[in-house]
Amino acid sequence: MLETVNTFLAARGIYCLVFILFFLAVYGMITCKNYMKKMMCMNVMQVAVILFFLCFAQKRGGVIPILDGVTEAASGYLNPIPHALMLTAIVVSLGTTGVALALLMRMTEEYGSVEEDDLLSGKARKKKEESADEADEAEAEKEAEKEETADVTGKDPDET
């Protein structure tokens, strides 16, 4: 029994760890109510996918895929393709994170919240509208005042 578990863990245990990480991130994405936290969970998911691909590159007794002039056989080096693919994926994940942050920032300005409950119940939108109305009123008052003062100052030189 223990023998079987040992061989399974040695041969395929890392896949199970990667899957656990992946589903942990999925759980976070489903249950977290905050979009910022959802985005962080998405990043964890990306890491899990990257690790999953890198598992395929392993070879027993292989060295990193840089020719050292001694080893000739292809079986002596790790598989370079997953490394090359994941290298770009890591950098692109940074780009997607940046876009997500920008969208979240716009969302905060627009609705005043990134909490899913507030957004779905319309509470955030309402708040925003109220404050916008207030701001509009304040602006209208200001403009009216300005016009009045402008009228006064405009008339004064004519009279004198």
Binding site: A10, A11, R12, G13, I14, Y15, C16, F19, I20, F23, V26, Y27, I30, T31, C55, F56, A57, Q58, K59, R60, G61, G62, I64, P65, I66, L67, A74, S75, Y77, N79, P80, I81, P82, H83, A84, L87, T88, I90, V91, V92, L94, G95, T96, G98, V99, L101, A102, L103, M105, R106, T108, E109, A135, E139
Partner: protein
Amino acid sequence: MKYKILTLVVLIILCGAFCAGTAYLPEIGDPQSVPNNHISDYYIEHSEEDTASPNIVSGTLADYRGYDTMYETSVMFVSGLVVTLLLAVNQKKDQQKKRKYDVTEKVMGAELLRPVETSKLKGIMNHPFGGIIIDVSARLIVPFSMMYAMYVLAAGEASPGGGFQAGAVLALGMVLGRLMKGEKASFKIPGAVAVLLAGIGAFFYVFTGWLSLFNGGMFLEYGAMPFPISYHHLHEAGIFMIEAGVTLCVMMTIVGIMEALLKREDFEEKD
């Protein structure tokens, strides 16, 4: 609460199913597994003569799969552009007016509206943070990390390294300096210039591909570039050129994203 438990149960069942399914996946470290055969053996055995690059990952990335990397670089540039555009438009006008032009100054008799000093803005991230310890240690880290990045770029073709890593490490130095010193950072690049330079980096990649067209070769065929050097050196030069382009694009995209986020934050309500 109820749906959290339901989610947990469903996901545990799914995770168990996936783990049970690993029997179909190749064994870890098996040299005879499917992903480790076919094309990868060809790449390892022919990398030296085809791409003149001892680093097989660089050879694969920049030479065998040059198209792929070109579009990845474009994706990076586009993401930087999108972040800048998203955060540049539709800033709250009254706030912008108030913050930007609330200082009047008399210059040669004429009243000019001057922008506010940035130290008076209310953003949190724009203020330098940390005390003397962080300041001193960052001064030690930044120059060495930048020098290391240049080494990673230059040696990326023959040893571990490459354009993406060099760009990320270079940007790290700049981001660190910008966060430590705020607006007073002596080496900072405005967001618009950063996006422009990222575009130039992505263009440099494509331009390297075009060079071989002038000599009757195919796009990104480094061996046909119109320089009077040997085939071996042509490949080295081609890989170095596209990696320089990638480095510029990645570094400037990261700096551009950071600048856009920091700049937008100034106009947020903090009343």
